[in-house]
């Protein structure tokens, strides 16, 4: 079976680095991006089963990423993480059909569990 591909977009470099190290342990193929533009470009080249994106980013933000992914690649699951844990953001994300919504600091175990559940549906 092919490895599942997971994309992590967060302007904090450490988030990408740690997520990559941890998720690769689970046997996933992980690519990280510091902002949305190159990430969306990469999506055109390669199929990702899961996109983990930060909510608040310069340029294209997480909500926009969610909209684009759901429109262009409806099979791809989007998980959102955010430092701004407010109800409005969560509701907006859920309406945009987000798979899960994590406030920072993120529990990596919970993130992995969420990714696993998403991949079970695939």
């Amino acid at each position: 079976m092919d490895k599942y591909s997971i994309m992590v977009i967060d302007d904090e470099k450490i988030v990408g680095d740690m997520a990559k190290m941890s998720l690769e342990q689970e046997g996933y193929d992980v690519e990280t991006f510091l902002n949305a533009e190159p990430a969306l470009a990469r999506l055109k080249e390669k199929k990702f089963q899961v996109v983990v994106t930060d909510y608040k980013m310069k340029g294209i933000d997480g909500m926009e990423v969610l909209r684009i992914v759901k429109k262009e690649y409806p099979a791809t699951t989007v998980i959102m993480i955010t430092a701004f844990a407010n109800l409005d953001a969560a509701i907006e994300a859920l309406r945009g059909d987000v798979h899960d919504f994590f406030p920072k600091p993120v529990k990596i175990k919970e993130l992995k569990e969420s990714i696993r559940r998403a991949l079970d549906k695939v």
Partner: protein, 471 residues
């Protein structure tokens, strides 16, 4: 003396003057009336005297005794008239002249009576009659003439007195009102000057200008208000700072979440992958934790520095460093609002002699205002550059927000002026204005509705010699 009392007294003086003139004019009119009444009677008498003299002439010409009877009739008629009009005549010509006239009439009457008795007119008698008649007529004519002249004189003098009084009252009213109004205007100018300087944040007093009138009370009240404002300014600055702090804290809390998350993720990964990590990886992980902790420490320190109540404590500072520090406090707020920020700081700027925290407070305030006025997707431009004169530094905070309408623009630095509805205290910009003024600087605003607003702060460069004066 109170202005009110001065006005009352000046009115009383003018009023009394007018009453005096009125009384004088009334007296004159009465006198003129009396004299005219006499002149009327005198005309009547003169006509009778003339008729007597005519009858007298007839008698001399025709020796007709009936002419004498006519004269006697006339004499008794005039005597009766004089008696009846005594009341009107005495006030006009006096009792002496009346008696004189009556005695002349009497002697004429005697001569006529004598003539009636003699059968024939002789030359001696004729001369007597002529003399008495002439005397009577002449005296009567002379007092009539005199009275006419007197009436004329009275009217003329009344006229000139009235004209003179008119000018005198006008002049006195003008002079008094000029003095009073000049005093009021002078006091009002002082008050205007003071209130203007108070509105600019200089809490001065009006010195050496004391009157015991209403304006004096107003000046005393304004002076004590000015003192009270000066006393409260510090409190206002501090409370405004605390208000800004409220806005900042929310942003800063979010700001801290990112490094916290980083530390947490490093720790989780470290724990999970411990066995698989190389020595080098472990050291690198801990180094990252340390760096993230430092990030948090800086944010917290900035916030603490900002909140500390302090007297102005100016020092030689690099303005760009101050701007950078401020940005760590507000960056999050800007990001949340999805506003694109461009920061352009000119390198090699001369140092400024400023209170870092107060200038930070001003910048936080300007940026907060800009962010609140700018819709998502808008732009914020923060810049520092050397001033036009080369001896100051200009700091610009520019936004592409809704702008300030021209009618509000002159008031935005006024205390308690706000366009934010319930949200604003109207103190932020006035406090900022006060801070910049205390730094001998200038703060200017340029705004266009729908285009955006630019605040420019101009701060003078630091010269070694100034330290003693400003410190």
């Amino acid at each position: 003396m109170k202005i009110e009392n001065k006005l009352i007294i000046s009115n009383i003086i003018n009023g009394a003057f007018i009453i005096l003139i009125g009384f004088f004019a009334f007296q004159n009119m009465n006198l003129v009336l009396t004299k005219l009444r006499f002149v009327e009677i005198a005309d009547d008498l003169n006509a009778s005297f003339l008729e007597m003299r005519l009858s007298e002439k007839n008698y001399f010409l025709y020796q007709d005794k009936s002419a004498l009877a006519e004269i006697r009739d006339k004499i008794s008629y005039t005597m009766k008239t004089l008696d009846a009009a005594k009341k009107d005549i005495i006030p006009a010509i006096g009792e002496t002249d009346l008696n004189k006239l009556q005695s002349y009439l009497q002697s004429y009457s005697y001569v006529i009576a004598e003539t009636v008795k003699v059968p024939r007119l002789n030359a001696e008698l004729e001369a007597k009659i002529r003399a008495a008649g002439k005397k009577l007529k002449e005296f009567s004519d002379s007092i009539t003439r005199l009275e006419r002249k007197r009436v004329n004189d009275i009217i003329l003098s009344s006229k000139s007195i009235l004209v003179f009084s008119f000018w005198a009252i006008l002049a006195s009213a003008l002079i008094i009102s000029h003095f009073i109004s000049q005093k009021i205007v002078r006091s009002l100018r002082e008050i205007e000057k003071l209130t203007k300087s108070i509105s600019e944040g200089n809490f001065n007093r009006i010195e050496g200008f004391r009157t015991r009138d209403e304006l004096g009370s107003v000046i005393t009240a304004i002076n004590s208000m000015s003192e009270e404002l000066a006393h409260r300014e510090e409190q206002i600055i501090q409370s405004k700072k605390l208000a800004s702090l409220g806005i900042l804290t929310a942003g800063v809390a979010h700001e801290i979440t990112n490094p916290l998350n980083n530390i947490s993720m490093i720790a989780q990964t470290y724990e999970e992958l411990y066995a698989k990590l190389s020595e080098k990886d472990r050291i690198e992980f801990m180094g990252k934790v340390d760096a993230e902790t430092e990030r948090i420490r800086k944010i917290v320190k900035n916030l603490l520095d900002f909140s500390k109540p302090k007297d102005a404590n100016p020092k030689e500072e690099d303005i760009n460093a101050v701007i950078q520090k401020t940005l760590t406090l507000v960056q999050n707020m800007i990001d949340v609002s999805n506003i694109e920020t461009t920061v352009k700081l000119e390198t090699g700027l001369p140092h400024l002699y400023i209170d870092e925290h107060q200038i930070q407070q001003v910048l936080v305030n300007l940026v907060t205002n800009a962010v609140q006025a700018t819709p998502a997707g808008g732009k914020l431009f923060i810049a520092s550059r050397i001033g036009k004169d080369g001896d100051s530094v200009d700091i610009t905070v520019m936004d592409t927000g809704k702008g300030i309408s021209p009618e509000f623009l002159p008031h935005i630095f006024d205390p308690f002026f706000t366009t934010k509805g319930d949200g604003g205290t109207g103190l932020g910009l006035s406090v900022s204005y006060g801070i910049i003024k205390n730094h001998n600087g200038e703060i200017r605003v340029d705004s266009k509705t729908g285009v955006g607003t630019t605040f420019t702060i101009e701060l003078p460069c630091y010269h070694q010699s100034e330290e003693k004066n400003n410190g």
